[in-house]
């Protein structure tokens, strides 16, 4: 039971980030590498704020805002300075490394074990037995659901439609007399805000911030998005956001299963990229849609 619960917990935490990657990769067709650093950015902001006495719940919003700011930077570099998409992500990712360290006052590792977090506070401690055991997963589920519903609602607004249009058909957006650049910037801000939110939740659940947690976030996000949208979209009508969340949980379950079978963590990255490549090849019809 604890294994399944662990997988769901991990999956839900990263699902927030994967929803962001879904916006950039699937909707905007923008491979945004900045999430590798906006994920730890969110964690750094949350850990530092919590230590400064900011209510843990509030840190989630601040982390989101910080991530959105970083995403805006990626967008501006790409749109205004005309740097290629992949490169603008790399630029922001690299710059954020220093910024993350300066946020935590040059500490690569910031424990918050003894602090109150959204998962550990007086209210949670006061809960009765069956509820307290599942408190973590319930809180995560609530956060993910709220984010998902908000995102679904947003996609139905005028701005949301434009966002989707930019990925599908840029000319259409221009012909509607809308600036496709600002729509892209908005999408990147949203995506990186979600990645930072994910990082903030991660560090509160794990009890510490560590500079190295961001490595490979984008690969994990892409794999989850692709599993979600390619596999679950085959099972009848299902919202893309739901599919992405499920995809992340499935991805985490695969990793957990591989480890239970005795997979050496040494090979983890290799397996992840192979897995990723296979799904990409299988889903090559993606290209037809985009081109």
């Amino acid at each position: 039971m604890s294994i399944i619960l662990g997988v769901i917990n991990e999956g839900l935490i990263y699902a927030l980030m994967a929803l962001g990657v879904y916006i950039t990769y699937s909707i905007l067709d923008f491979p945004d590498l900045s999430v590798d650093s906006t994920f730890p950015l969110g964690a750094a902001v949350a850990a530092t704020m919590i230590l400064a006495g900011v209510p843990p719940f509030l840190t989630l919003f601040i982390a989101f805002a910080a991530g959105a700011l970083a995403g805006t930077a990626t967008g501006l570099i790409h749109v205004k300075l005309k740097v290629r998409d992949l490169l603008s992500g790399i630029i922001v990712m690299t710059a954020l490394y220093s910024i993350n360290l300066s946020i935590t006052d040059n500490k690569a590792n910031l424990p918050i074990f003894s602090q109150e977090t959204i998962f550990e506070n007086a209210f949670i401690d006061g809960l009765a037995k069956p509820l307290s055991e599942y408190s973590t997963v319930i809180i995560l589920l609530l956060i993910v659901l709220v984010v998902k519903i908000l995102l679904d609602l947003y996609m139905k607004t005028r701005s949301g439609y434009l966002l989707r249009a930019v990925g599908d058909n840029e000319t259409l957006v221009t012909s509607l007399a809308k600036d496709k650049g600002s729509v892209k910037i908005l999408g990147l801000a949203l995506a990186n805000g979600l990645a930072a939110l994910s990082g903030a939740v991660y560090c509160q659940q794990k009890g510490f911030f560590e500079i190295s947690i961001g490595t490979g976030t984008i690969v994990m996000g892409l794999a989850s998005v692709i599993i979600g949208t390619k596999v679950f979209s085959r099972f009848g009508k299902i919202k893309a956001t739901t599919a992405v969340i499920l995809g992340t949980i499935v991805y985490k379950a695969c990793i957990s299963a591989a480890m239970a079978m005795g997979l050496k963590t040494l090979y983890m990255k290799l397996i992840t990229s192979l897995f990723f490549l296979i799904i990409l090849v299988v889903s090559e019809n993606r290209k037809k849609k985009v081109r």
Binding site: S2, I3, G6, E10, Y97, S98, L101, N106, K107, A108, N109, P111, I112, F113, S114, Q205, K206, G207, F208, E210, I211, S212, I213, G214, T215, G216, T217, M220, R234, I255, S256, A258, M259, A260, M261, G262, L263, K264, T265, L266, Y267, M268, I271, L274, F275, I278, V281, V282, N285
Partner: protein, 355 residues
């Protein structure tokens, strides 16, 4: 058609994964069967316990000479107490290769594999292990955590914050400074290179800065963020200082040759922080014996496994005092004579530089 190719490919991927998985777990499986075999034979020594056999997970944060020595020592320490790999002990060993997210996954993996105890090597590994294990009440024994208090794994009075305890590898900073003063009576500035992403380096650097004045030194620090920054940083640093002193910084130590080259061109010595570095070309060091540190940790783990004490009841331990290691070949190259009293008390002297 699409669906079929998809299924076929997925199957292929899973087979590949499980194949690699199997080859990886072979050793632990054989160890497991050996463990059951040992459990049946009760003619084992007095240490034979009621439980018969144990499963422990070792989570190491990075590949690193000192950390590897810790792990070896840990297993030796357990063996001294009668808990031997292949007899009554199954060891699950994973290395996060310096990735914090992987480190968390390793910890939860050990818990799902029902480890009786997790041994965490280095600070991030210890924190992930504690984070995952504290809800399950699985004891965590750490080693090579330089500052357990600031890592929030122990209280100010050294008592654990939960079912977690272990050993700290706080460097013998004052002894090292005294040693440098003895070898280089006229030196004024010591250069220290560290990576900004390693919390252990930062806290040791602070200790050096505090203690330096007492020995008439000034510390010149140089922070790097990746191993790729080391060459430039080393070239700049050697211009400003009379000698370089290493910490146990993973990034800098892995680029040790670069630092040695830069210092060698300038003819200034590099001091190490442990035996491996002296072997590889540092002039000298008052260093920790990481194998010994691991052994001490192993003995603590044995107590917990046998149920003699709970992890939450044991304060963390610091290995006391360092011993002198010197390299006479390096001294000869630099034209420096190592003081006789240091050499005669040396734990080990090397007369060649191993590559």
């Amino acid at each position: 058609m699409k669906k079929r190719t998809f299924a076929a490919l997925l199957l292929g991927a899973l087979t590949a994964a499980s194949l690699i998985g199997c080859s990886g777990s072979n050793s632990s499986q054989s160890a497991e069967s050996a463990a059951t075999a040992a459990g049946e034979e009760t003619d084992n020594s007095a240490e034979q316990t009621a439980g018969g056999s144990y499963t422990i997970g070792i989570s190491q944060f990075a590949v690193h000479g000192s950390l590897d020595n810790c792990r070896e020592g840990f297993l030796e320490g357990l063996a001294e107490e009668g808990i031997e790999e292949g007899k009554n002990l199954t060891v699950l060993y994973e290395n996060a290769n310096g990735d914090g997210a992987v480190s968390s996954q390793i910890a939860s993996g050990f818990i799902s594999q029902k480890a009786d105890l997790i041994c965490a090597i280095a600070t991030p590994a210890a924190q992930s292990a504690y984070s995952a294990a504290r809800k399950e009440n699985i004891p965590v024994i750490y080693t090579a955590v330089t500052d357990p208090v600031s890592a929030e794994l122990a209280n100010e009075d050294k008592t654990p914050v939960g079912e977690i305890t272990g050993t700290s590898d706080r460097l013998p900073v004052t002894e090292q400074l005294a040693m440098i003063r003895e070898i280089l009576p006229d030196a004024k500035k010591i250069g220290i290179m560290y990576s900004t992403s390693e919390v252990n380096s930062l806290s040791t650097l602070e200790e050096y800065k505090e203690a330096a004045a007492e020995y008439g030194f000034e510390i010149v620090e140089s922070g790097v963020s990746t191993a790729a920054d080391v060459p430039l940083a080393a070239d700049q640093l050697v211009e400003k200082v009379d000698c370089i002193n290493n910490l146990t910084d993973n990034t800098v130590v892995s680029a040790l040759q670069v630092v040695l080259d830069a210092a060698g061109k300038k003819g200034i010595p590099v001091f190490g922080s442990e035996i491996e570095q002296v072997k590889n070309g540092c002039l000298a060091s008052v260093g920790l014996d990481y194998v010994e540190l691991g052994k001490q940790t192993g003995r603590m783990a044995a107590k917990v496994l046998k149920g003699e004490a709970k992890a939450s009841e044991m304060s963390f331990e610091i290995i006391e005092g360092g011993s002198f290691y010197g390299n006479s070949k390096v001294a000869e190259n630099l034209g420096i004579t190592l003081p006789e009293d240091l050499v005669s008390d040396a734990a080990e002297m090397f007369d060649e530089i191993s590559e």
